[in-house]
Amino acid sequence: MNASSAALDLRRAEAAERVRTRGLPHRRIEDWKYTDLRAALGDGGFDRASPVGAIKLPRGVEQYINVGGVVPRWVETYYGKVAPQDFLSDASLAFDKNFFAFRVPSGLQVSEPLDFELSGYGQSHVLIVVEAGASVLLKEYIKADGAMNMGLEIVLDEGAALRQVWRSAHDEGAVAMANIAVKAAAGAVYRGHYMTTGSKLSRTEIHIALEGEGSEAHLSGIGVLGGSAHADVTTHVEHVAGKTQSTQLFKNVAGGKSRAVYQGRITVHEGANGSDSRQTAKAILLGGRAEADLKPELLIFADDVKCAHGAAVGDLDAESLFYLRSRGVSEAEARNLLLRAFLEEAAQEIEDETLRAEIWLAAEAALPRAMEDAP
C-alpha cells in the first residue's frame, strides 16, 4: 500500500467513525424534520454493497476506480474533501471503498455527455474534478430498488463549467438518498437540474460552496409525485466569495398521498459582497391528501448583497380550469395542460435540448399517476 492510498483509507475511517458516533439522523434534527430516514430504513440500515454503475466515458475524460494500485494526485487531493461531512456524505465515503473518480483535464471542452447510470441498492461514492477552463455535461440516471445512498463530490477549478442533469426513477419501495457537493473556484459555473418521481422515501441534498469570486450555481428541479411517494430536495448554497451568483427554481406537483419537501438554505458569508441569490420553490397539490413543505432560509453576513426568495403552495387555479373547459377542453386535459405549464418553467432551465426533451418526457409520463386520486 502506498502512502496516498493510506490517506484515503484514513478519510474513510474518519467518516465511518462520525457515522458510528452520530448514528442515523432522526426527525428531531432540524434538517431531517420532514424526512424520517430512521423509520424508513427500519432495522435494515444501508447495505454496504455497491450499486451497479454503467458509465459512458467521453473521449479525453480520465477515469479512476479505487481497486488498489496507485492513487492519482488529483484523487488524493480532493477525495472526501468536498463532501460536507454530514450523515449521507460520510456514509457513502465510509462504505464505498471501490469508488469512482473522473477528471476532465484543463481546457477540455467535452461535447459528449459523461453518462452515468446507477441501479440497485447500497452505497456509492463518486468524485468529479473539472480542471481550469474545462467543461463537461454530466447525465445521471439513478434507479434505486432498495436502500441506496449516493455521494457525489464535484470540484470546479477556475473557469470550469459542469452541467448536471440528474433524473431518478426509483422503485416505489426504495429508500433513495443522494448527497451532491460542489466546490466552485473563481469564475466556475455549475448548473444542476434534478428530476424526481420520488419513492417510499427519497432525499437529494445539494451543497454548493461558491468559493471563488464570480462563481455561479444555478439549480432547478421538477418533482412529479403520486401514490405515497416522498421526495425531499434539500439545498445549501454558500456564497463564500464576492460577486457570486446563485439561482434556484424548484417546481413540484404532488398528488395522491404524496409529500414534496424543499428546504433551501442560502448562506452569504462575511466578505461575499456584491453577491446575488434568487430562490423560488412552488408546489401544486392535487386532491386533499398530498402535502408540500417548502422552507426557504436566508442567512446573510455580508453587506451589499441581493437576495430574493419565494415559496408558494397552491391548488390548480379554478378560474383557469373553467376558462379552458368553457372552450371545449376536457377537465382531465385542462388539468394536464395547466400542470405542464406550471412545470415547464423549471424544465427550461436545462440548456441541452436533448436532455431537456428527455426530462420533459419523464415529467409528462409521471403526471397521470400524480393525477390519480389517493386510494
Partner: protein
C-alpha cells in the same frame, strides 16, 4: 335556440336569479342590460356551466336539450361560447397551442376529424388578420401581458374560430377604448348569421350602438323587468336604470 324558463339560481347561499325567463331564436341578437349586481354575470356563468351555481328552480333548454347537467366542455362542443369579461391569463401555454387544443377538443367531441398544426395555423391567421391580431401575439402565453383590448380581441377570435351556435358576450365592451370597441364590434357583426344566436350582456348602451340588437331585456334583481326593441337601450342611456325601473314597477 335558447329557452330559459323561470330560472332561479343561488351561489354561496345567495339567491341571485329569481325567476328569469328569456327566449332567443336562431339568427337573433338580444341584449341584456342591467345595473351592477342584477345577476348579469351569474346568467352568463350558468349558461356556460361554471361550478358553484345551483339551479334551484326552472330550466334552460338549448336546441331543445336540457343544459343543466352538461359539463362546460360538452356545452362548448355543442356550440355554446362565452366571451368572458375577464379572460384568464395562463402562463406556460402559448396562445396558438391553446387555440389548437381547444379547437381539436371540440371537433373530437363532435366526432369530427382533428386539424393538424398547419391547418390550424392557416385558419387562425386568416381569422386573426381582421381582428389585427399578429403572429407575435399568438406566440405569447395565453392572455399573459395582453392589454384589455388584446384580450377581448382574442375572445372574438376564438368565437370566429369555434363558430358557435350560441354566443354569449359578457361585458365585452368593458375596458375598451373607442377604436378597440369598434374593432371588436365589427368582429362580432361579421359573425351574425341566420343559424347563430347571440346574447350581448352589458351595463352600458355604447356597445349596442355598434352591435345593434333585435331585442333588449332589462335585468334587475334577478328578473327580466322590461323588454323592448333597440330603442329601449337608448332610453336607458338617457334616463338611467332608476328611471326605467321605476316605470317598470
Amino acid at each position: 335556440m335558447l329557452e330559459i324558463e323561470n330560472l332561479h339560481v343561488t351561489a354561496d347561499g345567495k339567491h341571485i336569479l329569481k325567476g328569469l325567463s328569456l327566449s332567443l331564436g336562431a339568427g337573433e341578437v338580444h341584449a341584456i342590460m342591467g345595473p351592477n349586481g342584477s345577476g348579469k354575470s351569474t346568467l352568463s356563468y350558468v349558461l356556460a356551466g361554471r361550478e358553484g351555481y345551483e339551479i334551484t328552480e326552472g330550466r334552460i333548454l338549448y336546441q331543445g336539450e336540457d343544459l343543466t347537467a352538461m359539463k362546460p366542455e360538452e356545452r362548448a362542443a355543442k356550440g355554446i361560447f362565452l366571451a368572458m369579461q375577464y379572460p384568464v391569463e395562463i402562463p406556460g401555454v402559448t396562445t396558438m397551442n391553446f387555440l389548437k387544443t381547444a379547437l381539436n377538443a371540440q371537433r373530437r367531441a363532435r366526432g369530427e376529424s382533428e386539424y393538424d398544426a398547419m391547418s390550424v395555423l392557416k385558419l387562425v391567421r386568416q381569422k386573426a388578420a381582421a381582428l389585427k391580431i399578429g403572429e407575435e401575439m399568438l406566440r405569447r402565453a395565453l392572455n399573459v401581458g395582453f392589454s384589455g383590448g388584446e384580450k377581448k380581441r382574442l375572445e372574438i377570435l376564438q368565437m370566429a374560430l369555434f363558430e358557435p351556435r350560441l354566443a354569449i358576450l359578457d361585458e365585452t365592451d368593458s375596458g375598451l377604448d373607442i377604436d378597440a370597441l369598434k374593432l371588436v364590434a365589427e368582429g362580432v357583426n361579421e359573425l351574425r348569421a341566420p343559424d347563430r344566436a347571440m346574447l350581448v350582456i352589458t351595463h352600458y348602451q355604447r356597445l349596442l350602438a355598434y352591435i345593434v340588437p333585435d331585442r333588449v331585456h332589462v335585468l334587475a334583481d334577478g328578473r327580466i323587468v322590461k323588454e323592448g326593441g333597440k330603442e329601449l337601450a337608448e332610453e336607458l342611456e338617457a334616463g338611467g336604470y332608476a328611471e326605467v325601473l321605476k316605470g317598470a314597477a
